[in-house]
């Protein structure tokens, strides 16, 4: 590879490379969407079979934490979008601060999620470990909570990866704001927004059903 070119030999220019990266991340996001898609499918199948149980189980989730977490993620996404804009405008320090803000919000999200899990453990809502739910809807509720735990923990893993990526970028940005990092930040931002959008859908399916009844 010719040294000092700054981009791999299969590309003609920096712009060429960045376009490839952008297509790449979108294809990857399509993959991620289908990963969560399998869970959505399972959710809808069982919700169709147990509508009352799903509503009752959903009422046992913590809507305060859920709503707070949604607001936190939306705000973090806003900060990341601003960070991309700031870096393109040449404001590297502001960009780093915005990224740190987004990461802190991400960590706050995870700690609230952990609090929520602990609460559910105490309420005996964890299938496979301790689960008891008022009959007659216990079986449907168990299905709901199994899907809930699988979906939210996979989402949390995505959050952790996102935070790690943002942290790595923030550290690298302290030294330089090369075009390579600029493209990398845009790619990472797309991933972060995607994880945010997934949460929005999960929020509507997990926390909101059944609130108007009972």
């Amino acid at each position: 590879m010719p040294e000092g070119r700054g981009f791999a030999p299969q590309y003609a220019s920096v712009q060429h490379r960045d376009e490839a990266a952008e297509i790449g991340i979108w294809v990857f996001l399509a993959t991620e969407l289908l990963l969560f898609g399998g869970l959505l499918f399972a959710y809808f199948v069982y919700r169709h079979a147990n509508p009352a149980a799903f509503a009752a189980a959903s009422r046992h989730t913590d809507i305060v934490i859920g709503t707070a977490n949604t607001a936190i993620l939306l705000t973090s996404s806003f900060l990341v979008a601003c960070a991309v804009d700031a870096l393109q405008a040449g404001a590297r320090r502001i960009c780093i601060m915005l990224l740190i803000g987004a990461m802190l919000l991400g960590l706050l999200f995870l700690s609230l999620k952990a609090t929520e899990y602990a609460g559910e453990y105490h309420e005996h809502l964890v299938p496979g470990i301790n689960f008891s739910f008022a009959p007659p809807l216990a079986d449907g509720a168990e299905l709901f909570f199994t899907i809930y735990f699988v979906a939210t923990s996979i989402h949390a893993i995505h959050m952790m990866i996102g935070i790690a990526v943002l942290a790595a970028l923030a550290i690298m940005l302290r030294r330089t704001a090369s075009t390579r990092l600029c493209a990398a930040l845009r790619t990472a931002a797309l991933y972060w927004h995607f994880v945010d959008a997934i949460w929005i859908v999960l929020f509507a399916l997990i926390y909101l059903p059944g609130r108007s009844g009972a």
Binding site: A30, F41, V45, C82, L208, P209
Partner: protein
């Protein structure tokens, strides 16, 4: 350096998203019967669309990225549509 201000479109999207969040939580508590879930899913879709359009900057991207972004959604639709068709149209055992 400090002259940077957040672009208006991002601020507006952010505020709009928070407003929609407040709206969807409020609506969830109103008794619409089976419409509740439809409302929740529609608002979630609008929020996701705002994120995709403005935070992810799809609104000023070419058709190729739109196709890639749409492909995932389209195939997700196939999975849900054909898959759920079985469960919804099954004769009672």
């Amino acid at each position: 350096m400090m002259g940077w201000r957040p672009p208006l479109v991002l601020v507006a999207s952010w505020l709009g998203l928070l407003a929609l969040l407040a709206l969807t939580v409020t609506l969830a508590y109103l008794p619409f019967g089976s419409l509740n879930s439809t409302v929740a899913i529609v608002i979630a879709a609008i929020k996701a669309a705002i994120i995709a359009a403005f935070f992810m900057e799809l609104w000023d991207r070419g058709p190729r990225l739109l196709i890639f972004a749409g492909a995932g959604l389209f195939w997700l639709g196939l999975l849900l549509w054909l898959g759920l068709m079985d469960f919804i149209t099954r004769a009672p055992a």
